[in-house]
């Protein structure tokens, strides 16, 4: 037992060093992080900020422009746009984060197993991943969504997750293949570490930056696909999401009738989510790659 503690302390101590190193350095990363953090905060506090029930129809007067009482005005069905926006953000983030996490978990496991194990396991998993990557996801998503009679958020997460894992799987497979050849993995083998320990103690810690960038990618891909389906009218019927807001606005020809306060806010928030995630992605990339290069003293 004692010996495990000795090297376990290493992992904790190393984490501390990496974290404070990361946030001191990069403006883009902190910018991206603040955007996403604020959006998450709003989503979590949604019931407090927007207490009215956003989805019931006819509560308020129709087509009211933004006023003190309705910050973002109301829509043709008499619903407060600001409430919809807040609850829509919450649902969209829920879809994005859960799908992203599911895709990441399945993807990294498949990627690491096939990358580290090699042999027929690798061939099998790699061909399955390749088939998924080649088959066009959008048309199949549309067909599958049509399959669900009454679409809800959980269903959407499941359908999107089916196509969320191949990309991280391929990324992590190539990462593990490259990290496996590093000399310090041989050093670990020479120290009698088991395969499991090598993967979790030696390979994974170095791949942390890639885990976070891939998570940012899978979440933004999931939200992109969700909004796509919602704009086709295949989104969840019972709950408001950012995508369904835009869909209902388009159904009611909000653009032509000039109800800009109904159409543009959800679009802006969606784009804000993507920009936040991309800034985090680029920030992490810059922080971790040069470090690896700078790691070699002159």
């Amino acid at each position: 037992m004692l010996n495990v503690a000795v090297s376990g302390r290493d992992v904790f101590d190393a984490f501390k060093g990496t974290l404070n190193f990361v946030f001191r350095r990069n403006a883009r990363l902190s910018a991206g992080f603040t955007i996403i953090f604020c959006l998450l905060l709003i989503a979590v506090l949604a019931p407090v900020i927007a207490p009215y029930d956003a989805s019931t129809v006819g509560l308020h007067l129709l087509d009211r422009p933004p006023s003190f009482e309705h910050l973002l005005g109301t829509d043709t069905l008499g619903r407060d746009v600001f409430d919809q926006l807040i609850h829509g953000l919450r649902q969209s983030l829920i879809i994005g984060i859960f799908t992203g996490l599911a895709g990441l978990l399945v993807g990294t496991t498949v990627g690491i197993i096939s990358g580290y194990k090699g042999g027929w396991v690798d061939d099998l998993l790699k061909s399955v991943t390749d088939v998924f990557l080649v088959i066009p996801t959008i048309p199949l998503l549309v067909v599958l969504s049509a399959f669900v009679r009454y679409m809800t958020v959980p269903y959407m997460v499941v359908i999107l997750a089916i196509f969320a894992w191949p990309f991280p799987a391929r990324t992590f497979r190539s990462l593990v293949l490259s990290y496996r050849k590093r000399e310090y993995i041989n050093m670990a083998k020479l120290s009698g570490l088991s395969d499991m320990k090598i993967v979790f103690k030696e390979v994974l810690p170095n791949m942390l930056p890639y885990v976070s960038t891939t998570l940012a990618n899978t979440i933004s891909a999931a939200i992109m696909a969700a909004v796509f389906l919602e704009l086709l009218g295949l989104g969840p019927q019972n709950t408001i999401t950012l995508g369904t807001m835009v869909y209902w606005a388009m159904e009611r020809a909000a653009l032509i009738r000039g109800l800009l306060w109904w159409v543009f806010p959800p679009m802006i928030v969606i784009v804000l989510i993507f920009i936040g995630l991309q800034l985090i992605n680029i920030g992490l990339d810059e922080v971790f790659n040069p470090r690896l290069r700078r790691g070699v003293t002159a």
Binding site: N3, V4, S7, E183, Y184, N186, M187, A188, S191, T297
Partner: protein, 331 residues
Amino acid sequence: MRNRTESKMDNAVLEVKNLTKVFGSSPAALEDFSMTLFDDKPMITAIAGESGSGKTTLARLILDFIRPSSGEIFWRGRNIHKMSKKGLMAYRRECQAVFQDPYSVFNPFYRADHVFNMAISGFKLARSRAEATRMKEEALEVVGLRPEEILSKYPHQLSGGQRQRIIVARAFMLKPRLIVADEPVSMIDASLRAQILEIMLKLKEDFGISFLFITHDLSTAYQISDRIYMLYRGSVAETGDATGVINDPQHPYTQLLISSIPTPDPSAKWQEEVEVSVEEEMGKGDRVGCKFYSRCPHATQICNESHPPLYPVGDGHQASCYLYRELKRDK
């Protein structure tokens, strides 16, 4: 000297039998290589050769990082590829390694002493943290490093020389029988190189640890090794006592190699011009017979037909060249 219980009838500690390794469709990286290291006297055996001679492949095979295409490796009479997990751990404990690139041997995520901690927890060497620290300090002192300067540092805060000495210290801490040193000093400046070679000599003489010293630099091999294997394109060109082979090389390749080494003496300038055929350089020279045929001044017909076996050319000194075929008959 450590007391060794003589349990084996012949005290061969490492036996390599007809080892061959082929990567993909290219010519064999290592072909029919055999070698035996004995346990009675700790020795530094040099495996010398240019890039592409198969020396690193041999090291990776012995350390069981890659599996041979054919041939076996025996440690204390037992085939390492057929060992149980426990058996392999015991083998690892007794056969350690030092690698070439001091920068890639350390996991950048952890502090420098992580290499020690891995070995300690892997082989369950210490019962308490204090004992673990003491082992680390003792090992670092043997290689001439001050523990307080090293233990808390991250790898990128240390120089190449310091890192390499830490890796040697780690190997020493496990008290192995054999250390496979794959080009341990080729990436270190000349001035620091000498110190690491001195450490290797000290470990051999004071702690009875044998070395398999893989290098492309014959002059370092000459300085510290007892026996030497000259590798060329995956097969042994010449082998024997290090001083004998380098002072009086028999195989034409070894002669060319030694004459090409620039000596730090301005008066002894290179004499004649050396020609290397274009095909040779392009690495297309995949031959049936002797692999040195296309560059050998004494090449004859038979050299092109079959690969020459190792003929004895002196006391324990062998060369794989048909020039010495007659010697065999009249010996």
